[in-house]
Structure formats: structure tokens, C-alpha cells
């Protein structure tokens, strides 16, 4: 009997203790963040989305090679001699047209490995994280700022220049070969003359 009373007392005490805890939390502060209306401040250096400052890119391909999942796709075309692409803000001369610089954020695993090799610090993570898409192909970000016509023109020019260079080189090679042949011919003549002289002297 006494035990039953004691047990009941303990039961009620624990129930009221529990109810005290819940009522304190009821009136206490909530931790919910009303997400689309309020947003949490992201920590410094949050890795949410890759961004490329295309004006500073020299097309060195180091980031694409560092990427473990091959999500960076770069295509470069060498600039022609009549065009000066200028310099990056870090002072490196730009030598390539960037005809394609695509990053597939669906593949990206946010490892940050592409960021560190960049000699001009032009690829980095930004804290923009709301970029869901209905179609996975929309997650491929195109950073190249060249228009398609421009790309075609640049490629055409580069091809022509390459051809030109090739022709020049061939010309040069031919000239060199001719010179070489002439020199050899002259050397032969000299040798013949020398031998003739020798023969004369012997006579």
C-alpha cells in the first residue's frame, strides 16, 4: 500500500517534471528558419557553386586537368598575331581565345581541387546555392563569352594563320634545303678545283 502510494507519487512527479520541460520549451524560442523568407548566413568560403571570371582566364587547362570527375570542359583557340587579347588583372598575357568553358554542376562534387591550380585565381566557389533545375542539362554552365559567329570567325582566322605559318615553314624548309644543296654543290666544286690544282701541281 505504502509502496503503491510512493510509486504513484513518483509517477506523477515525473509526469509533471516532463510537462514542466515541455511548457518551458513551448514558451521558449524556436529554432526554425523560415527558409525562403529568411536565409542563413553561409560560412566564409562556403562551396556552393563554381564561378569563372572569364576575363582573367588564360586557357591553361590546369583546372580541367585537376578535376577528378571531368566536369570542366575547355576548348581554346590560339589567338592570331594581329589580335592582342591583352593581359589578365594579375598581369599574365592572354594567348588563347576561350571558345568553350563549360562546367557541369550536376557532375561537380565541390572538392575545390580546380580552384587552387589556377594561376590567375579566376575559378572559384561562390555562395549562390539556389540553382535547382528541372532538366539536368540546364546545370551545365557556359562561361565562355564569345558569340557563336565570333567563335567561327576566330577558328577560321586561327586556321588560316596556322596554314599560313605552315606554308611559311615549308617555304623556309625549302629555302634551307636549297641553300644546303647549293652549299653542298659549291663545296663539291671547290673540292674538284682543289683536286685539279693538286693534279696540276704534281705535274
Amino acid at each position: 500500500m505504502l509502496n503503491a502510494v510512493k510509486q504513484s507519487w513518483l509517477t506523477f512527479r515525473s509526469i509533471f517534471t516532463g510537462m514542466g520541460v515541455t511548457i518551458r520549451h513551448f514558451f521558449g524560442p524556436t529554432v526554425t528558419l523560415q527558409y525562403p523568407d529568411e536565409k542563413m548566413e553561409l560560412p566564409k568560403g562556403a562551396r556552393a557553386r563554381l564561378y569563372v571570371n572569364i576575363d582573367d582566364c588564360i586557357g591553361c587547362n590546369l583546372c580541367a586537368r585537376a578535376c577528378p570527375v571531368n566536369c570542366i570542359d575547355i576548348e581554346t583557340v590560339a589567338s592570331t598575331q594581329d589580335v592582342d587579347l591583352g593581359k589578365t588583372s594579375t598581369g599574365n598575357p592572354k594567348r588563347f581565345w576561350l571558345t568553350r568553358f563549360d562546367i557541369d554542376m550536376a557532375k561537380c562534387m565541390y572538392c575545390d581541387l580546380c580552384v587552387h591550380p589556377c594561376p590567375t585565381n579566376c575559378i572559384y566557389m561562390v555562395s549562390e546555392y539556389e540553382y535547382s533545375e528541372y532538366d539536368r542539362s540546364n546545370l551545365v554552365y557556359h562561361f565562355s563569352n564569345l558569340e557563336p559567329e565570333m567563335v567561327a570567325e576566330v577558328k577560321d582566322k586561327a586556321e588560316k594563320e596556322a596554314e599560313q605559318k605552315k606554308r611559311e615553314r615549308e617555304e623556309m624548309m625549302r629555302k634551307k634545303a636549297e641553300e644546303k644543296a647549293q652549299k653542298e654543290l659549291e663545296a663539291k666544286k671547290k673540292a674538284e678545283e682543289e683536286s685539279n690544282d693538286k693534279e696540276k701541281g704534281e705535274e
Binding site: 503503491a4 516532463g18 510537462m19 515541455t22 520549451h25 521558449g28 524556436t30 529554432v31 526554425t32 523560415q34
Partner: protein, 342 residues
């Protein structure tokens, strides 16, 4: 007002008397479901529903209702079709019918019968039947287990409920809930306390505690929600129900909760009597006080729900058969002695 309607046509009177409690139940259910989610949220340091309707998501229940109406009405192939369809409506009818004898205010009671308490307890016992009906007709092991648990639980807990209600009936000397309420008017205890039965003698406090624990079990609230325990029985007898049929169960459950809380308010807390005597008294104030008392009990039930874990089946039966039932009968006898002596 009701007399005036019955002068026009008896059918009109029936419709009005049927519509008033129904309106109260429906409005209450919308508010209570939203309120329960808010209370749960705040207790768990969350906010609960916030988006529908503007201020604190007040229209969440309406949105839920619209969603439930649109849902497909699924009946399992192997279910007993008629009973499966009938059970939710029977369950709601059982708790709705009991509202007929609840005196909402000094001017309004659906049906002034002399056996009000008896009628109420008899009608609410139909709930057990409808839950078993739902569980068995679903042809699903979880549902059947839930239904069986519910039958065992409600049959057991009806005994302490009735014994504690009898304690009040013993003091009041009437089964008519209106008479019981009228007996509690006035502020005579210790000069200022209202004449509510809970203050009238110490045994009625014990009776109220027993009554409150029992109604928690009767209306399947945590910590006694074994028939529908989500985590172990996947919602018990409700497993196979969806859409509006499930909503009917939910409505019936909330209606049952309100009914038993209002019964508690009538029996122990003076029903529609104002706590300040004649101040703020009158039919409309009476309705206000009555709903305030009933809803306070509902809120306490919600508060307990989000505080306590669920009991095991054997613990549930142990509490009922070896503690509450003996205690309630001893309490009944002691109250009778108190009434004889004083």
C-alpha cells in the same frame, strides 16, 4: 431561440438541434488540428505550419481538408466492402450523437433527457464497435491488432470512467447534465470559490484525476494511443483508410476528445457557470465559459501528448485493472460516506 424554431415546424427544430453541435464540432476540429500542430511545433522548438493563409498558417486545416477531398477513395480488394465503408461514419455518428445531451449554455441543450450521463456513456461505447469494425473489415494485420487493442482498452477504461462519473452523480443526485450544471452555480466555497464539484469535497479531486486518465485512454490520446500507434502498428485501424474516410476517423477522434473534455468540464468544473458568480454570466457568456473549460482540458490533453511516451499494452492494462478500478470504487464508497456524514 430553439423554442421559437420548434413553433415553426418540428422538423426544423430537429435540423437546428442537429446543426448546432455539428457546427461546433467542425469549427473546433479545424481549429484543434491546427492548434495541435502548433502546440507540437512550439513544444519541439519548431514553428509548426506557417505558410497557408498568412498569420501562423491558420488556414492549414482547410488546406488539408481540401487535399483530403481530392484524394482517391481506396478500398482494399479483400476488404469487407460494406463494413469498411460504414465504419468511419458510424464512429463519427457515435461521438456526434453524444453531443445531444451536452448543455452548451444555460439556454441551450440539444436534448433535455433525465438519463443524460447514461445515454452519453452508452452511445460513446459504440466507438469501440466501429473501431473493431474498421480494423476487421480492412483485412490487414495491423488494423486488426489495432482494433483488438482498442476493444480491450476501451472496455477496460470504461469501468473507471463510469465509476468516477458515478461519484459525481452520487453527489449531484441526478443524471441530467443540465441539473448537474445548475447545482454548481454560485460562489459559496470558502467564501469565494465557485461551487464546482471539484472544490466540493476531496474525493471528487481524486475522481477527476481518475476521470481524466480514463478519458485519455477512451479517446486514444498519448500515452494511451495504442490502437493507432503510428510507430508500431502503422496507425492501427486507420492503416487502409485514405481520403475522406480517414478524415472522418480523424474528425470523430477530435470530436470524441472534445466530448469527453466537455463532459469533464460539466461534471467537475461547473459547465457553463461563470467562475465569478453573477459577473459575466448569461447564455452567451455561459457558452464562452463552457467552451473555455472544455478547450483548456483539450489543450492539457495535447500538452500531455507531446510530453509523454506511449505505454506498453501490459502497462496499460495494469494501470487500469489494478490501480484505477480499485481506486475509483474505493473513492465511490468514500464519497458516499462523505455525503452521509456531511
Amino acid at each position: 431561440m430553439t423554442e421559437y424554431v420548434s413553433h415553426i415546424h418540428p422538423v426544423a427544430a430537429i435540423l437546428v438541434h442537429a446543426a448546432i453541435p455539428l457546427t461546433i464540432i467542425l469549427v473546433y476540429a479545424l481549429v484543434a488540428i491546427w492548434g495541435e500542430r502548433k502546440i507540437a511545433g512550439f513544444i519541439q522548438d519548431r514553428l509548426g505550419p506557417m505558410r497557408v493563409g498568412g498569420w501562423h498558417g491558420w488556414a492549414q486545416s482547410i488546406a488539408d481538408l481540401l487535399k483530403l477531398i481530392q484524394k482517391e477513395d481506396i478500398i482494399p480488394t479483400d476488404a469487407s466492402r460494406f463494413l469498411f465503408k460504414f465504419a468511419p461514419f458510424m464512429m463519427f455518428a457515435a461521438s456526434y450523437a453524444a453531443f445531444a445531451v451536452i448543455p452548451f449554455s444555460s439556454a441551450y441543450v440539444g436534448s433535455m433527457v433525465n438519463i443524460g450521463v447514461f445515454y452519453l456513456l452508452a452511445v460513446t461505447s459504440l466507438l469501440t464497435l466501429s473501431i473493431i469494425m474498421a480494423g476487421w473489415a480492412s483485412n490487414n494485420k495491423w488494423s486488426l491488432l489495432g482494433g483488438m487493442r482498442s476493444a480491450a482498452q476501451m472496455v477496460s477504461y470504461e469501468v473507471p470512467t463510469i465509476a468516477s462519473v458515478l461519484t459525481v452523480v452520487l453527489v449531484a443526485g441526478s443524471l441530467n447534465l443540465m441539473t448537474v450544471t445548475e447545482m454548481q452555480s454560485g460562489n459559496d466555497i470558502l467564501g469565494f470559490l465557485p461551487n464546482w464539484f471539484i472544490f466540493q469535497n476531496p474525493f471528487l479531486i481524486v475522481a477527476f484525476i481518475i476521470f481524466f486518465i480514463s478519458i485519455l485512454a477512451e479517446s486514444h490520446r498519448v500515452p494511451f494511443d495504442l490502437p493507432e500507434s503510428e510507430s508500431e502498428l502503422v496507425a492501427g485501424y486507420q492503416t487502409e483508410y485514405s481520403g475522406m474516410r480517414w478524415a472522418m476517423f480523424m474528425l470523430a477522434e477530435y470530436a470524441d476528445m472534445l466530448l469527453l473534455s466537455l463532459l469533464g468540464a460539466t461534471l467537475f468544473f461547473g459547465g457553463w457557470n461563470s467562475p465569478f458568480g453573477d459577473f459575466m454570466a448569461g447564455p452567451l457568456w455561459g457558452f464562452f465559459w463552457f467552451m473555455l473549460k472544455g478547450l483548456s482540458l483539450v489543450i492539457v490533453m495535447m500538452w500531455i501528448r507531446w510530453t509523454l511516451p506511449r505505454y506498453r499494452v501490459d502497462q496499460l492494462m495494469h494501470i487500469c485493472w489494478s490501480i484505477l478500478i480499485p481506486l475509483s470504487f474505493v473513492n465511490l464508497v468514500l464519497t458516499a460516506l462523505w455525503e452521509v456524514i456531511f
